[in-house]
Amino acid sequence: MILAIASGKGGTGKTTVSVNLARALGCDVRLLDCDVEEPNDHLFLKGSRAREEIVTIPIPQVDESLCDGCGECGRACQYHAIVSFGAKPLVFPEMCHGCGGCARVCPRKAIREVERRIGVIETDRAGNITLIQGRLDVGEAMAPPLIRAVKAHLQNGLPAILDAPPGTSCPVIAAIRGADLVLLVTEPTPFGLHDLRLAVEMVRALGIPFGVVVNRVGIGDDRVHVYCREGKIPVLLEIPDDRRIAESYSRGELIVESLPEYRGLFLSLIDKTMNRNNS
């Protein structure tokens, strides 16, 4: 069972839901932090570092002694990552997607691929949770290859919770593709509803079953609930607006530990999601 936690709007509580759910689950679980631009799960779990691996993508390197400046590579590249002006081509590494097209089209075999670092994957152990988080290097533009590398740590049959980046574009898609169920976290405000609609469109386009988590219930109105009711979208968890939750979050604490009265909420979410699928 792979459960992905996503949201159109940022800051609605993806991290809160992910880490508390993982802890409340009790059994061994992998938590994949795919918000590689700003990974936060580790701040709440404080585990011990078990492993670090560097993630690279292949980029072209041109052998000048073989290149005759024919320009075929530049014509093949769709990303303007290799450009030739009748001489040895220039490579713009941060534009390169690593498709390998230039090396393949070069008639003189003058291009070989070398690895370029884009980030790291860090594995932490924290009790029942194995946290696997991607961390994109600052200044790097492309999150999807790193997200795919984080997801390569999924293991068949083992339960996994996947904390996705916010939004609805390529990094989010890279994260939630292949999940069994997506939880869309939102808040009962105009911004929350607007971005939830976009997220719903996205998961529908991908054909993944989904439900909604409404966070900070009480700050706005019932527009998100009405939307879910009319669209027959299940609301699987409601977290009330409680300043103590915000304060506990601010200190990096887990709600299920610092405010045990809310533990039941997460246990019931587990019943409705992870356990349902197992039986």
Partner: protein, 294 residues
């Protein structure tokens, strides 16, 4: 012409609420919503759309089913996991491209022995020019599951600057996206000043650190403000001290106040309904000193 870009690193810190207030305080300038993934500024500024433009960017591979012989060359060459079985039985299979996974590199198109793969331009979204009570606004909508948000961000910014020049405005106010990746880089390179709106939480602190290394990387003058600062005063002080050490300016603090949500419900900017938060935001606006000459 000056350009202020408001970003946050972490999402949901109040970036859009602050930007909308700035747009009101600035009088009639030019506003750009570069959070093209989850654009919310229009929910406050109620734009009347004057122009719509399609946003096309890159290409996508499409296999012509009738011409596919099922040789599997595309499957073997694709590095993005975008090729999948599209029906037929073994030995007689045909392939198809998952448009969501395709990154438009064109390698399969070029090497398909049957030349059975088309490569049309991809429609990724649209961008709009609108009238608002705070002046002209440029905003966009990225298509569902679409790529190239960075290019769309660049388009929105370029148009906003063009319009500011045309209308003889001195300031462009940009609502940026969360994170530190491609759309963020596209929204802040070359800006006059960046304001980072953060919050006094462990996540806010962690994400701010990464955003500040990004703005330093691109050499852009940066100021920060802590929203909901009284949620954790100690953390606020720590964040401000860290920001100063990282070479950023501290532009002010904003209280934790219901008026922010209340304003959003009424489709108005915080400074339009008043209250303690509004005062805080006005102070930050003056601190930024972008309209000294006025």
């Amino acid at each position: 012409m000056k350009e202020l870009v408001v970003i946050s690193g972490k999402g949901g810190t109040g970036k859009t609420s602050v930007t909308a207030s700035f747009a009101v305080l600035a009088g009639r300038q030019v506003v750009a919503d570069c959070d093209v993934d989850a654009a919310d500024l229009h929910l406050i500024l109620s734009p009347r759309i004057k122009e719509r433009h399609e946003f096309r960017s890159g290409h996508e591979a499409v296999i012509r089913r009738d011409d596919c012989r099922g040789c599997g060359t595309c499957l073997e060459l694709c590095r993005f996991g975008a090729v999948r079985m599209g029906g037929g039985t073994e030995g007689d299979a045909v392939f198809e491209i998952d448009p969501v996974a395709c990154e438009g590199c064109g390698v399969c198109v070029r090497f398909c022995p049957q030349h059975a793969i088309d490569f049309p331009e991809r429609l990724c979204g649209e961008w709009m020019i609108s009238d608002t009570r705070c002046g002209t606004m440029v905003h966009a909508r990225l298509g569902t599951a679409a790529e190239n948000s960075g290019k769309l961000v660049s388009t929105v910014r370029r148009e906003a600057r063009r319009i500011a020049e045309e209308e003889n405005r001195s300031l462009v106010i940009v609502d940026g996206p969360p994170g530190i990746g491609c759309p963020v880089i596209a929204s802040l390179t070359g800006a006059t000043v960046v304001l980072v709106v953060t919050e006094p939480t462990v996540s806010g602190e962690h994400d701010l650190e990464r955003v500040l290394s990004l703005t330093r990387h691109f050499n852009i003058p940066t100021a920060i403000c802590v929203n909901k600062w009284d949620l954790n005063p100690e953390m606020t002080r720590r964040i401000e001290a860290g920001a100063l050490r990282a070479g950023a300016r501290v532009a002010g603090r904003i209280r934790y106040d219901r008026s922010v949500t209340l304003a959003q419900m009424q489709e108005r900017a915080v400074v339009e309904i008043g209250g303690p938060c509004a005062e805080d935001i006005e102070r930050i606006w003056k601190q930024l000193g972008l309209q000294e000459e006025a």
